[in-house]
Amino acid sequence: MKIRKKSRDAAALNSWLVRRPIQRMVWLFLLPTFAAFCIGFLYPFLQGIYLSFCKFRLTSDAQWAGLSNYKTAFTDPSFLHAFWYTALFAVVSLLLINVLAFTVAYALTQKMRGANLFRTVFFMPNLIGGIVLGYIWSMIFDGILIRFNTSVVMETEYGFWGLIILLCWQQIGYMMIIYIAGLQAIPEDMMEAARIDGASSWDTLIHVTIPNMMPSFTICTFLSLTNGFKLYDQNLALTEGRPFIQEGGEIIKTTEMLALNIVNAFTSQATNRGVGQAKAVIFFVVVAAISLLQLNATRSKEVQQ
């Protein structure tokens, strides 16, 4: 090992006498975190993948079943319905949440009275848990819909838009904070240059502000897309999948999203939980693939400041 010449005022920590033992023992310092990672994530994840190929009720009593669980999952009409329903939901919520959050953030960074108060108020819904929100909103929706002799759990469309409204209300404030941080990070000299060059405020927004904010867009679209896909507790509390349709004995819960479908598959099967497990693996692969694609797409548009 080459001995580096040290400057006199370097902190004692930079001395090789201190650093070498630390460097040698690096594995010891990594060990606790790595062990936690293995126990808490890696092992269950691999075990989960293995179990998705098994027929099991108890994890200690699993029998290899090959691809049959995946076959059942892919031919399950309720799973396919939940998949497309969730995809549609994720796209609609992604667009609405980001457009609205950006608009609110843009408005609140203009000089206006009470901007801080508004920021706090808009952020607050994010502090309420999903289950609670679901029940609160079901009361609000039903309070209105009851006048028309219907309810949020009676029509698929009501359930869909109800969930969209709920999720927007919950998440716009959070995304708004990220956008505000992005807006405030735009160098003032660039804005000034645009003004001097006579750019209208629309031009400034399109050609200066938005390109400079691509990192914020990347993170916000990533968060809202994956949140849309993973939505569970709001779904459970607001509609629980109601209303259902029946076709030849098959029950399709029309407002059931993927996560809820997986949980139901896991708990309702009398003997084989492998199908639910297979659905969960498919779910993971799909969400991971979509979010990686999306990250790639938005990252490539990010500019260096």
Binding site: K55, R57, L58, T59, S60, S138, D142, L145, I146, F148, N149, T150, S151, V153, M154, E240, R242, P243, F244, Q246, G248, G249, E250, I251, K253, N264, T267, S268, A270, T271, N272
Partner: protein
């Protein structure tokens, strides 16, 4: 401070390791699924341990999580030695059920038939309490409206009484039925219990005892009779029902705003005994009448009495633990403290040494049977894929009630979903 914390943590770790390593000779581990009976079980277990020296551990699954808890616990080395398996659970847990044939707890049964048998004739589990459901009736209000319980002998009578009370509800200050809520907390009363009456008559016609591959839904049309009364002769109708809860319905009845409330003997505790609920109804004002749906000869119908609560002993436990568990069960169903606790917590139980019960709903059932009426058996226990089947039925009922869709959909759900769920159930 930090040093102290680290030491404390290390101590906890060592102690938990020690705890893991300890293994008693013979012990009982009961996974109880009735949270309301937890305290009573713990006390009984302590008493047994004091008397015999055999440790009894009672763990209670939180409400609605019994199946999940059982799955988790069965995976452990120290698995429950005593747990619950009903007809629906037989398929998934049958292999874990010790054959109870000839054991003391089975010999203590007062009547045959209070057991679940496997296909090979082994006794998988044994019933430990008997419950009953029907129309809980407020006799005092009924009298105020000018009727007696004896005026209601069939569906036509019930309809006449209910419609009259509903028509005069403003003047009387109460309505006929408490709300028939379709919310998840309440709809099992109809998808499970009410539809069971239609299944019972169909099974009786066809001599079915067990899970049939298909049902015809012959009496589904009759269910409509009673359902229409529930949803018209009540203060809550239409879309409001879609999110009405079980608590609402119970409160309407408990506060004297409705004469009839479809529910079971387990409500006795809430309505009469439990002061914290605030209903404090008088036992002598209450009774339970059969669910009349307009079937020929239903004047002789009794209440719906049966059980879903069966004990099973873990066949994969050690020989010594199995013996300890069987001894414990025998003690529970024969000893003074055991039978007292059973009567207090569960009402009627099917054992010879069972104490007489206070529960007036169980008494009403016994009185009807003594009078020569037939019991309306719990046919819903044979439903394949219970959750999905009930979901389909309740959805069709909701569509009918709120959106005016055809009642035929209920029949479709009844028949088609049954056939499909049966296929899935047997395919495994």
């Amino acid at each position: 401070m930090k040093k102290f914390l680290a030491m404390a943590l290390a101590l906890v770790m060592v102690l938990s390791l020690v705890a893991c390593g300890k293994k008693d000779e013979a012990s009982v581990y009961y996974l109880n699924f009735k949270p309301e009976a937890d305290a009573a079980w713990q006390q009984l277990a302590d008493e047994y341990t004091k008397a015999t020296g055999i440790p009894v551990k009672v763990v209670t699954a939180a409400s609605g999580t019994y199946e999940d808890t059982l799955v988790a616990e069965m995976d452990k080395k120290e698995a429950p030695t005593l747990f619950q398996v009903n007809v629906g659970g037989l398929k998934s847990w049958g292999d874990y059920c010790y054959d109870l044939t000839g054991t003391d707890v089975v010999n203590e049964l007062a009547a045959e038939g209070a057991v679940i048998t496997k296909d090979n004739g082994e006794i998988a589990s044994v019933a430990y309490c008997v419950e009953t459901y029907g129309l809980i009736t407020n006799k005092a209000l009924l009298k105020k409206a000018g009727y007696e319980v004896s005026d209601i002998k069939n569906f036509a009578d019930l309809k006449k009484v209910a419609e009259d009370i509903h028509a005069r509800s403003a003047e009387l200050g109460f309505d006929a039925f408490s709300s028939a809520g379709l919310d998840g907390s309440s709809n099992w009363r109809f998808s499970g219990h009410l539809s069971s009456v239609a299944l019972f008559y169909e099974f009786r016609d066809n001599n079915v005892s067990g899970m049939p591959a298909t049902v015809t839904g012959k009496y589904v049309e009759n269910l409509k009779n009673l359902w229409d009364l529930y949803t018209t002769c009540s203060a809550t109708t239409g879309a409001a029902l879609s999110t009405a809860t079980s608590d609402m319905s119970e409160a309407e009845f408990g506060q004297g705003k409705a004469v009839f409330f479809q529910n079971g003997s387990w409500e006795y505790n809430n309505l009469v005994l439990d002061a914290s609920k605030g209903f404090n109804m008088k036992a002598e004002d209450l009774t339970m009448i059969p669910l009349y749906i307009g079937v020929e000869g239903e004047e002789k119908a009794g209440l719906c009495t049966g059980t879903e609560n069966y004990w099973a002993v873990n066949a994969k436990a050690s020989e010594a633990d199995i013996k300890a568990t069987l001894d414990f069960l025998k003690w529970v169903v024969t000893s003074e403290s055991g039978t007292t606790m059973m009567a207090e917590q569960f009402g009627a139980s099917p054992f010879k040494a069972a104490k007489p019960v206070e529960n007036i709903f169980c008494k009403a059932s016994d009185a009807l049977i003594a009078n020569g009426n037939y019991n309306v058996d719990w046919s819903f226990i044979y439903t394949p894929g219970t959750d999905d089947w009930r979901a389909a039925v309740i959805d069709a009922i909701s569509q009918y009630t709120v959106k005016g869709a055809s009642w035929d959909n209920v029949k479709t759900a009844f028949v088609d979903t049954w056939a499909k769920e049966y296929k899935e159930y047997t395919a495994g």
